[in-house]
Symmetry: C2
Subunit: 186 residues, 2 copies
DNA sequence: AAGTACGTACAGAAAAAACTGTACAGAGTA
DNA sequence: TACTCTGTACAGTTTTTTCTGTACGTACTT
């Protein structure tokens, strides 16, 4: 893992790698919950255990994959704020390391991904609500249609209520209030 | 939408469908956050606005897709507890409707999917921790390796701490305590 | 300014996933 | 028991996604 100096034997290296590998495997697999590829998950795991920030070439070598793939993988992880670009004088290459604060990672994920979804959904629901109201107010709307509209309206109202709640939950994640509600230490 | 009686005109039907369609579109798209396909998301949206529980054939007709796809789609949604099987005497076909309580849907999702991930990760981390400890205790472990092990150990410790917190957050979701912390009504 | 090294855009290949049609097991009906 | 109908397993096809190699723009070095 970038430690080619003979500071530890091949055997020692292998043993440590084996231990790491199993964790990487599991963590990588479960990262599909964050909507990332299995291989991007692996990349994350690799970076997690890296002894120091890695370059794209390092990653490519370790993962036995093309640098192009590393580039896109890293970008995905950067977007999710799971990985940070690191500056180090002397190296012209870009260096990356994982964000080790997983609390932060988790809350950031919500703040970005879920917020986006909530907002677009809320917008769609509100728009629909308006249209329904406009339709319902038209004098030539039959009684049956009125019933259908009432039903749709109620469904949308409930959904809106839920999204507003979710929005507040995301607020709590974003500003860290969640850690008052559910403390880091029990 | 299963309303082939002439209780409303073609035109009325179309107008309502257009409004619904836009919501379905958006909701379906954002359901990728739950790890479901776009088309499964659409299916969910369809069921959301359905005036009554639907059969697989109904869905296939509306979605213009094979019954097989509906079957797998519904099963996915059932697994996520986003859809419920409904019993209705007289009909030999299975009937499905969405779970309209979206608060429930959200918390259930966490309770099942995220819990699974947390548990498998915690297990892997603990196993790794044990192996590291065993290795570190061996007398022939060099100083350099000891340092590497110490670093890995610390990383794992932090990760464990995070997962334990997440586990408690999931607890709060599961038993509804989250609604005390972040109330449904502000 | 010329040369070198880095990251990524892009097009094509490989792999994975979604979707379909057929076939069939099992439950309900007569 | 024989018959009908429903949901799904499975194999094959289509579509989508992932991955790779090449080519190139940019930035740094000399």
């Amino acid at each position: 893992m970038g430690l080619d100096q003979n500071q530890w034997s091949e055997e020692e290296h292998d043993v440590v790698q084996r231990i790491r590998k199993r964790v990487i495997e599991v963590v990588g697999r479960n990262m599909e919950l964050y909507g990332v590829t299995l291989s991007t998950g692996h990349l994350y795991g690799l970076l997690f255990f890296a002894d120091k920030p890695m370059t794209l070439d390092d990653m490519g070598r370790e993962m036995q994959m093309s640098k192009t793939s590393m580039s896109t993988g890293v970008r995905t992880l950067l977007d999710l704020k799971m990985v940070n670009k690191v500056w180090e004088k002397g190296s012209r290459k870009d260096l990356y390391e994982v964000e080790y604060d997983w609390y932060q990672t988790f809350t950031d994920y919500f703040a970005t991904q879920w917020r986006r979804a909530v907002e677009s959904n809320l917008q769609a629901l509100r728009r629909a609500m308006k249209e329904i109201d406009r339709l319902a107010e038209q004098p030539d709307t039959g009684g049956f249609v009125a019933g259908v509209l009432r039903a749709d309206r109620e469904k949308i109202r409930q959904a809106e209520s839920y999204y507003k709640w979710l929005d507040r939950l995301i607020d709590a994640m974003e500003d860290g209030e969640i850690f008052d509600l559910v403390p880091r230490e029990p």
